[in-house]
């Protein structure tokens, strides 16, 4: 009994504990507070209230909202993917155009190069032909002059030989007419 007085002087929590014990008096007879049937109507009433409130909050506000958010996100993702695909197609198209332009430019460049080469070839051919003509003209001229010189030289040889032969015949005391000397020299030169 000394205990009870010290406890009474103790904390308010102790007192609350006592009250709880008193409240659980019926429970104790049953063994478990869960089987204290006196509390059942109360629990069931408040459970029903709680469930109805939760159901209304969830079905009226929370679930449509969350469902909407998820649907919105799904829609946005789908749209973004479609947009990305479109952009990708555009990029492919742009690259195709770029490649085509590149091919065109390359062809154009080759055409210009070929044209320039043809032009140069033409000029070159003309120049070559002109040079060839000049060379052949000069060759012909040179040939003619060589022939002339050769003919001059042969004539001179006949003249010198005739004169020399006449002089030799005269020196030897012979008398020779110019005509026979010349024929003799010609015969000798031919032989």
């Amino acid at each position: 009994m000394a205990n009870t007085t010290t406890e009474a002087a103790g904390a308010a929590t102790e007192a609350a504990g006592h009250a709880a014990e008193a409240a659980g008096h019926a429970a104790k007879s049953a063994g478990m507070p869960q089987l204290d049937f006196a509390t059942f109507p109360n629990q069931i009433f408040w459970l029903a209230v709680a469930l109805v409130i939760i159901y209304l909050i969830l079905s009226r506000v929370a679930l449509p909202r969350i469902g909407g958010i998820i649907a919105d996100r799904q829609g946005k993702i789908t749209n973004d993917i479609a947009a990305a695909e479109e952009l990708k197609a555009k990029a492919v198209e742009a690259e195709k155009v770029y490649q085509q332009a590149l091919v065109d430019a390359r062809g154009e460049a080759q055409r210009i190069v070929a044209e320039a080469q043809a032009e140069i070839q033409k000029d070159l051919d003309a120049a070559t032909a002109k040079a060839d003509a000049e060379i052949s003209a000069r060759t012909a001229e040179s040939t003619r002059r060589i022939e002339e010189i050769r003919a001059g030289a042969a004539r001179n040889v006949v003249e010198v030989a005739t004169e020399t032969a006449g002089a030799i015949v005269a020196a030897l005391g012979g008398k020779a007419d110019a005509k026979s000397v010349a024929s003799a020299v010609a015969a000798k030169l031919k032989g």
Partner: protein, 270 residues
């Protein structure tokens, strides 16, 4: 005197945490003894109790998570909105997988059950809290509600064909009446197992924690406490971790069983 001190030091009241009591008054001793016909001090059905308090806190948490948490309606969710969406997706997928697409019209109902149980279980882990889902009165009503829903939906949707649930067509004809009896019994036992599983799990863990907690102050009384006190504190921590797991798993189990029963109602043929 020594025995008295001992009795005072180690008090085992592991079940006191489950007592439902009025919130704004104390029940005076002797005013509620139903056996003697004294009931004027007893709990009235409309009185706010600690059960009301913790159910109310659960409602506030649900509002906080699913209404305030999703206020932003953000495409890129905040943390709270992520959790809300995670819960939504978790239960939505569960119904879709277990019950089928036509079970989705019960989504708000199943989600209400799941939210109430999961929040009550976790709030019950706060020291000093009353775990409302540890009471068979609460889980019993939840299970009976599911049972009635399943039975009514089953008969409304399928008419007499709902009884095919008990007539196992894949079994030999001779065995079918026996199986029908077994199926019928198991059908009516469902709400019992459904509710007692949840309440029992929640109650047992909490009671065990309380028993270990009663051992903890032994060090103040006796020399054996040097060994017992750290051990009991360690055991409380371990049990608490386990209880966190159980709190979620039991909510999950209750919800998925609800989905399974709903599938029976919508597609009774095996």
């Amino acid at each position: 005197m020594a025995t008295e001190a001992h009795g005072e030091g180690l008090t085992f009241h592991p079940m006191d945490q489950f007592i439902v009591k009025p919130l704004f008054r104390d029940v005076a001793p002797g005013t509620c003894v139903p056996a003697d016909g004294i009931t004027e001090g007893c709990l009235k059905w409309y009185e706010p109790t600690n059960a009301t308090l913790w159910m109310g806190i659960a409602i506030l948490c649900i509002i906080g998570l699913f209404v305030l948490g999703t206020r932003g309606r953000a495409i890129i969710p905040s943390r709270l909105q992520s959790i809300a969406e995670l819960g939504y997706g978790f239960v939505h997928k569960m119904i879709e997988d277990v019950t089928g697409k036509d079970g989705l019209k019960f989504f708000p109902y199943v989600f209400t059950l799941f939210c109430f149980i999961v929040f009550s279980n976790f709030l019950g882990l706060i020291p000093g809290a009353l775990t409302t889902t540890s009471h068979v009165a609460v889980t019993g009503i939840l299970a009976v509600a599911v049972f009635l829903t399943v039975t009514i939906v089953g008969f409304v949707k399928n008419g007499v064909h709902f009884l095919e649930l008990f007539w196992v067509k894949s079994a030999p004809l001779a065995l079918r009446p026996v199986l029908a009896l077994i199926e019928l019994i198991s059908y009516f036992v469902r709400p019992v197992s459904h509710s007692v599983r949840l309440a029992g799990n929640m109650m047992a863990g909490h009671a065990v924690i309380k028993v270990f907690a009663a051992f903890a102050p032994l060090i103040l009384i006796s020399g054996v406490g040097i060994a017992v006190t750290p051990l009991s504190i360690l055991a409380i921590v371990a049990m608490y971790a386990l209880e966190i797991l159980v709190a979620f798993i039991q909510a999950y189990v209750f919800t998925i069983l609800t989905c399974v029963y709903l599938r029976d109602a919508l597609h009774p043929s095996h």
